[in-house]
């Protein structure tokens, strides 16, 4: 008798649809796809990345906002269709202190280095020397952080909100928040497009073939 649950539902690994040994293989495949899309979107160029800070190129902002919007709406529809159980999705715990400090440091690194951790690897892949230097610094930072971690631990885990979601903290439903977020994203798309148009006199818009 076949007693195995035949209806496929996500998340695939926690629900045992895929054996957990496969997660590294899947991570590798997703990582390759991620790297490819980063490179294809022009993120290997430091000019594109730092352009957000200097206000002449907002492609990073737009690509990431698009990714967030698509994933957000897609997951909510998947949840509605019963293809995924959102309650089983891992939500990264929120530590206010370390997240504020961490994002400031990360932003600073972005502007100074012209890469974020992911794009520095795509930079290496296309043979950029500055990306290699950046990645060296990245590993140095990881090493220093790991060595200093015992001293930083109480601060790092301080002010924990647990696996908080917008719905838990602000009491606004996922659906309503998504709608508001999409509207904000579209306003951002339009405003950044206007800014780019003013800053760069000759805007060359990307054309779909």
């Amino acid at each position: 008798m076949d007693l195995i649950n035949t209806t496929i539902m996500g998340p695939l690994i926690p629900l045992g649809q895929i054996a957990s040994g496969w997660d590294f293989v899947i991570a590798l495949l997703i990582g390759i796809a991620f790297g490819f899309i980063l490179e294809a979107s022009g993120f290997s160029s430091s000019r594109n990345i730092t352009g957000v800070f200097y206000g002449y190129n907002f492609v990073v902002l737009r690509v990431f906002l698009t990714a967030v919007v698509v994933a957000m709406i897609g997951l909510l529809y998947f949840n509605y269709m019963g293809w995924i159980d959102l309650n089983l999705i891992y939500v990264v715990p929120t530590y206010i202190n370390s997240m504020v400090i961490g994002s400031v440091l990360m932003g600073l690194g972005f502007i100074l280095g012209g890469f974020c951790p992911g794009t520095s690897y795509t930079g290496i892949a296309i043979g950029k020397i500055d990306a290699m230097v950046f990645t060296g610094g990245l590993f140095l930072g990881i090493f220093l952080f790991s060595e200093l971690f015992p001293a930083l631990e109480s601060f790092y885990y301080g002010d924990s909100l647990g696996s908080a979601t917008i719905e838990d903290v602000f009491g606004i439903s996922n659906e309503k928040f998504s709608f508001i977020f999409v509207i904000i994203a579209i306003i951002v798309f339009y405003v950044t497009w206007l800014i780019e148009k003013r800053v760069r006199k000759t805007v060359n818009p990307y054309k779909f073939e």
């Binding site: 209806t7 709608f179 579209i186 054309k207």
Partner: protein, 203 residues
């Protein structure tokens, strides 16, 4: 601005707006009907009244009791420390708070097995784990724990031990003394069979 961008923006706004009109629906992990049928056929979900009594007396922290009868029945009589989730309010948030506790085993009971079994099927369907049913329900509880019957003389010793336990449990739950007629007390003459000696050492 490119016309394609505008088109994509309209699509995403329509999709996001559509989310607002989706009816609220709870997603449960789908139980395969075949698997559920298999589980229903298994007697492993049953826990005897004796085990439940022992667990209450020992205040076992790994178990919690849930009465699935209507609230007026619960108010009249129930087991100590039991929660009340009437069958028709199993799908509410309050019952989720009680049932969805990791590592805690929930024992359901009603007057007999019927309602508790129904509740068990529903909770299984909702994806809860560690749910059990008290075999025989409260009727069996009264018969075995509150008013235990003395076993026949010829019954095996284990039944007498069980009877003793039930008498003790009855006192614990009702607070009444059970009269033990000294005259009727029988002394059992136990004749032990001689143990056969096992060959020790040597070869």
């Amino acid at each position: 601005m490119n016309r394609n961008y505008i088109l994509l923006m309209i699509v995403i706004v329509v999709l996001a707006g559509g989310l607002l009109f989706l009816p609220q629906k709870a997603n449960y992990i789908q139980q395969d009907p075949e698997k559920l049928m298999w589980d229903i056929a298994q007697p492993t979900r049953y826990i005897t009244t004796d085990e439940v009594a022992k667990m209450i007396i020992e205040k076992d922290p790994l178990y919690q009791l849930v009465d699935v009868r209507a609230d007026y029945d619960y108010d009249m009589f129930s087991l100590p420390g039991a929660y009340n989730i009437p069958l028709d309010s199993l799908l509410t948030e309050q019952s989720d708070i009680i049932l969805d506790v990791e590592d805690i085993n929930t024992i359901l009971y009603s007057d007999d097995d019927l309602k508790a079994d129904q509740a068990w099927v529903i909770t299984r369907r909702m994806g809860y784990k560690n749910i059990y049913v008290m075999k025989g329900g409260l009727n069996c509880w009264i018969r075995t724990i509150i008013q235990p019957k003395e076993p026949k003389e010829t019954a095996p010793i284990t039944e007498f031990e069980l009877y003793k336990f039930r008498q003790g449990a009855s006192i614990y739950f009702t607070g009444t003394e059970i009269s033990l007629d000294a005259g009727e007390k029988k002394t059992l003459n136990v004749t032990r069979r001689k143990k056969e000696t096992v060959a020790e050492g040597g070869c």
